[in-house]
Structures are given as structure tokens and as C-alpha cells.
Symmetry: C2
Subunit: 444 residues, 2 copies
Amino acid sequence: MKKEFKEVSGAIVAPKGFSTSGVFCDIKKLGTGKGSNKGPKRDLALIVSETPATVAGMFTTNQVCAAPVKICAERMKRGTAQVVVVNSGNANACTGKQGLADAREMVSFTERSFNFPAGSALVGSTGRIGVTMPMDNVRAGIIEAAILLGSTKEHADHAAEAIMTSDSRPKQIAIEFKLGGKTVRIGGMCKGAGMIQPGMSPTGARPATLPHGGLHATMLCFITTDAAVDAKVLQAVLNEAVAHSFNRITVDGDMSTNDTVLVLANGLAGNKKFKVQSPEFKVFSAALNHVALELAKMIVRDGEGVHRVATVRVNGAKTIQDADVAARAVANSALVKTSWHGGDPNWGRIIDAIGYSAAKVVEEKIDIGYSALGSKKILWSLKRGQPTKATFKELCAAVAPKEFELHINLNLGKANAVMYAADLTEAYVDYNKGDVTDPTTLGG
Amino acid sequence: MKKEFKEVSGAIVAPKGFSTSGVFCDIKKLGTGKGSNKGPKRDLALIVSETPATVAGMFTTNQVCAAPVKICAERMKRGTAQVVVVNSGNANACTGKQGLADAREMVSFTERSFNFPAGSALVGSTGRIGVTMPMDNVRAGIIEAAILLGSTKEHADHAAEAIMTSDSRPKQIAIEFKLGGKTVRIGGMCKGAGMIQPGMSPTGARPATLPHGGLHATMLCFITTDAAVDAKVLQAVLNEAVAHSFNRITVDGDMSTNDTVLVLANGLAGNKKFKVQSPEFKVFSAALNHVALELAKMIVRDGEGVHRVATVRVNGAKTIQDADVAARAVANSALVKTSWHGGDPNWGRIIDAIGYSAAKVVEEKIDIGYSALGSKKILWSLKRGQPTKATFKELCAAVAPKEFELHINLNLGKANAVMYAADLTEAYVDYNKGDVTDPTTLGG
């Protein structure tokens, strides 16, 4: 899949007609950085399209959902947008009526700054929960960001930095491919390091059956493309892409109040619009899937305190739901995650988690094995519920790399699911316990 | 409740007619301790009643369930037993047909040692998963333990030590009370420190709707009483007691393959047997509830790496199921647990977990507050979804004690649930990541 798409630089400004910027406007009210233990990191970004773009979004299904999520979910009906304003440092969650008013002011102030019609702006926020937005700082930041807009790699880097919270590095990608004879680009950036197990839907409403017991961290993702795509088609593509990427990752099993993915498609590549399931749809869909999956994996790799990443593949389940809950049980088990951290191929903890999951399983049918990333050569540790002859040393070698794949076959049916999961380390605990004597260390 | 019952010494041998012992028979095959980095800890215990006792049990609902659990669940139909053999160091789980044969040999060898009829013995195991039992050592241990039986406090201490794995201390209790004019005693011991979120049922079969997404650690609990109780009545009392104690605790959210609670009632106190819902039933039920809850709390307090314990009370839910899943979401959230470890009264993470739980909630109705253990004086941090005027300093003081209560009111109905939950610490991660260069450090 990867080789089909040429990677290009520029991330969200790689596609035609997009500009961006990232500025410091002191959303955390730390002062200018003088006297604070944190330097002035950029904390507000704008993403602007030259022309109105069709738009699609996916939002957290957390019932406690932040004001910016409510605003965006509401605005998806419009089908177009032209600018996105994003801040880090404050999630604008659990901020009541004031928070909703502040989020509305963020979009309308942004629209007025560009003289765009009402409804053209979208908003994303990430950071501490329960603190009202410092709106004077936000307004000053929007003005400065509007002045500093540009389309170089440096501009994209500034924006990618501005949306970071506990992330150790920015997360960006851009690819180029042919669509209906035209050269099309998709660019993306995202953030997220803790409170990460997204479960997003197009409206933020929950499906009748939850995809899992219900878990997340704030992740934000902004994708731009110069492809011409109808809003409904774009939403269909995004639903599929998120289902196979962001909704398949877990760092700590906590689902955030703010998880958001937005895609803007401005059509400047000049391709002909396409229908669902057309050949062009499939190409575009594969491309967006690729971008979303690469960005989602960057989140897991850069998760808080993360040392190792496991791709958990459950095959042979009776239903997709069974495969999903079994994969999530393993991917979120504290004991499994700590064993990964220790490089311990502890299949006992894995089969234990499979057994207590809501999936239907039969102990005597379960296979568990390991492979190198992307390899089909599996070293089985358990076959039909019984240990194989693989030695402890061989198994240790299989889980020693920074990334490996865990293969679970339930041998009951044909359904499968995958989760991209982080280990659990002392560094995660140390980071998240914070320091109550310095509340600026306390995350959302 | 507590003051109604007089605590007495002797734990499981406090009731009339019980004897016990705990010996070292080297179940882990470490050698005699010489040259090993672990001293010879006792690893096999017997609990014997002078006369056949009525029996009740609760067993893990994990679909991957250990051989001893299968044997015990099967033997519950018989309604009586006279001896329990328990080992630590090996869970006899995922050991296939050999494991089942070994567990059968453990009970039948024990029965033959005492010349008891077939079916008189029950068995419990805890320790590493996937390793077959060293049966020669086990048989030697049973013989030695049978010789060393006795009814002193020291005998009870030896047995309580023999069932420990990662426990830092033995967990025992005994109480005395009046039942139908007779003096009756109940004694108990338990173990468990990691892989702890039991979800037990009388047969090990799952209820139609799981009590939770499905999560556990091996916990074993053995309760003795000299009360005369019918087996069916005893099971009814135990179901209720476990529902409010062991099935309400979580250390790490992992449900074990081996969780077992057994109660033996030998009738030597001479009380008249009683019916369900009779006044005597209520007294006995309150007493067993007390013993089970005290033992369950000991498990959480001595959980692996545990620093703080929170009693999570969810009130005002629409249904008991809602109250339960909301309480479990909070009690198992990695971010909430690390914040407790840091002494951080982070209600943002708490409301986030409530919001992503499968419970129906409305953000604008949620109250969150803290109180001292057992106190009704609640310091509210959030009322109707909005921060109160409680200061950060006041809230920090509320979560600073080793144990505190967290109060969540959903304000949607009248159902409630409680969970007794441990924090998540670096010590937990460090312990459980183990050391692959020394496999004896790797837990089950």
C-alpha cells in the first residue's frame, strides 16, 4: 500500500491552495515564558484554504464532550468550510455555557478576521479540562496567526507544533498520487499522546452498540487535500479511514472529550468529482486511509512514556464485534502492557485478557504468536491453548524490538480486528501523576 | 455494621472443628532456597474440617479458566466437602488435559491421605500460567501438611502465607456473633495483589449480561464457619457477599483465570439451620458480608505497588448497570489512577471516564466530590458539570490521605454502585514488567 503513494514535504500545505501558521498567544497564561518552567511553545494555529472547501469530520463519542466538538459537529451539515482555528493548552471542555460562547466567538472572530461568511470556520481545542478560555489571548493569537499565514514547510511545522500538548514531536505527512488523470495531494497533521483510545463517529453520537466498553486521549487531526470531492463522499471516505486508523489505536485506554478529525477538500487539483465505489473513489479512499493510518501510528509511537508498540491482530473470531473486544481487552490490559515494556512474551496474561473479554472464545482453540513488523513469519507461543516448543529465549527475541506484531487466532470464525497499542511504562505513570505543587504539570 | 461483630484471633481456625497448615514443597522448583534469590516461602496449605461441611463457592467467569476452578465448580453440586488443598507458585491454568489430570490427582491424593470419600476435597491454585504442576513436590507437600495440621493462630498464619504470591502480607480475619442463641464464628483468609478485578459467579458461567466490559488478578479466598447452614442457603449468602465485596474491587482491571471463593460450614456451633430471609439468615448474611468486604479491601490495600485506595461511589444512575459501568470506568482509568497516585484531585479525568463509559450520563447533571473514609461530609469539586468554588488546595487535601472516598452523582435516577480501587504507580509497572533475564520474577 505504502509504495503506491509518493511522500512529499509540506504536510497540510502540500496540497494546492492551503496556508497555515502557528503562534504563541499564551493560552495557559504562563506569562511570556520568563520565570515559568516552560518556554513559550506555540499554542494556536490556523489552517486556511484559498477557496471554500468541502468538509468532513469525525468526533468523540464521549458523552462529556467539549464545546469546540459540539460546534464542529453542528457545522458539518453545512458541508463546506474555509478555515480551522486550533489551540492547545486548554480543551474548553466542561466549561458550560461560557465555554460554548467562547468556542462560538473563536469561530466567528476567525471568520470576521478573514471576512468569510458565518459558518466558514471550524475549531479544535486540546489541553486541560474545566478552565475557561483566555479569550483576549485567543483573539490576539488569531490576529497574529492570520498575519503570519504561509505555505512553506516551516509554516506547517509551526502549526504542527502549536497543536502539541504532551507530544514529544510534531506528527505530519503528505502524499501525492494520480486521481482521474490529475495530480492530487493529501496532507495531514495530528497530535495526541495520552488519554488516547478514540472512538469517533460523524456526529459524535454513539452507535447503538458501542464499538467497545467505551474508552480515549485527546487526539486532533487535520487533513487537507486539493482533490475535488463531494462532502457526502468525503464523509464516507473519512468514516472508513478513521474506522481503520484512529479508532484502532490505544495508548492508555482513555477516550477524550475532544477527539476530532477534520478533512478539507478544496478541489484545486481540478479532478472530476467521483461517486462512492467508483474507481477514483477507491484510489482516493486508499490514499486517505494511508494518511490516516500513518498519522494514527505516529500517535501511538509518541504516546506518553511509550517504549514499545504492538500491533495486536485478532483473527478467526465469530463476529467482528468479538474480534474487536478481544483485541481491545489485550491492548488495554495493564498486565499485558507492562509485560511488553519488560520485553516479556507473557502469553498467560494475553490469554487471560482474551478470556475475560466480552468475546466468545474457547481456550482449547486459541493460538498466540509473534512476528516482526509486517512479516508473515509467525513464531507461535501457543497453539490450540497449549504452549508450543518455542523457547523462552526465542519468544523474548520476538518481543524485543521497539515494534512487533501479536497474532491471536480464535479459530472460531472468519472475523478479524487489529489494534495499535502502546506499552505501559513507569514514565507514563510518572508523567501523569504530575506534581500538585506545580499545577502546570497536571494534564487534561 | 463493624461494631456488631467481635473480632477474634485465629482466622480460618477460629471456628470450631477446623485445622490448617502451610508448608514449603517447592512448587516453583527453585530448589531448597539455597542459591535461589528467593527464600523457601510456604507454598501449599490444607484446610480441614473435623466433620463434613456444607460448601458454597464463587468462581471466575473468565472463559480461560484454570483446572482447579473447573474441578471445584463441578464439585459444588455435591454440597459438602471436608478438606481444601491450595497451592501458590503455579496457577495450573492453560495446562490442558495434563492440568486437569493433575488437579484431579491433587483432590484424590488429598482424600486418600485422610481416608475421606471421593468428592470430599476441593482445590485452589495461584501463580504462573501455562506450566504443569510438579506433582511429586505437590504430593510430598500434601503429606507434610497433613502431618502438621493444627488449630493455633500460628497454623493459620502458615496457611495464609502459603497462599500468597505477590502479596506483601497475609490477609486474615475472624469474627464471633450470636446466631439463634448460639455463639458462631466465621474466619477467613485471602490472597491477591495483581490481576485483580474479579467477576465471579456460582458456576463460573457468565450471566447473560456481563457485570462489566469484562476485566481481573488471581484472588483466592477461603472462609470457614462453625454455623450450621444448608448448602443452598450458604450459596445464596455467598452470592450476595461476593457481589458486594470481591466483585467490587479492582487493582489493575485484569480478571484472573483462577479467582475462587470457598466457604465451608461444619455446623459444630450447634445452631438450628435457617431459611432464606429468616432473621437468622439476615444476621449470618451480615456477618459473612462483613468478613468478605474486610478481606476484599485488604486485597486492594495490598495491591501491587498500591499507594492510595479510593472508594468510588456512583449514585443517581438510571440503572444499576449504568452505576456499575460508570464506577468501573473511573476505577480502571489509567489517567484517573495515576492522578490519585500523584495526589491530584483531577476531576477532568474523572468526568472524562464517566463520559466514555457505557452508562447513560448527562454532563450538565454530574456532581463530583471527595470525602474522608466513611465520612458523609463531601467536598464537591464539580456540581452539575461545573467547577465549584472549592480551591485546588482544599481538593488536594481531600485526596492526600492513603484512603479517601470519591462521590459521583449522575442525578438521573436512584441506582448506585461502589468500587474499591487502587491507584496506578511506577512500582506496579516496575513489578509487573519483571526481568526476562530472571524468569522467576515474571508473574502469572
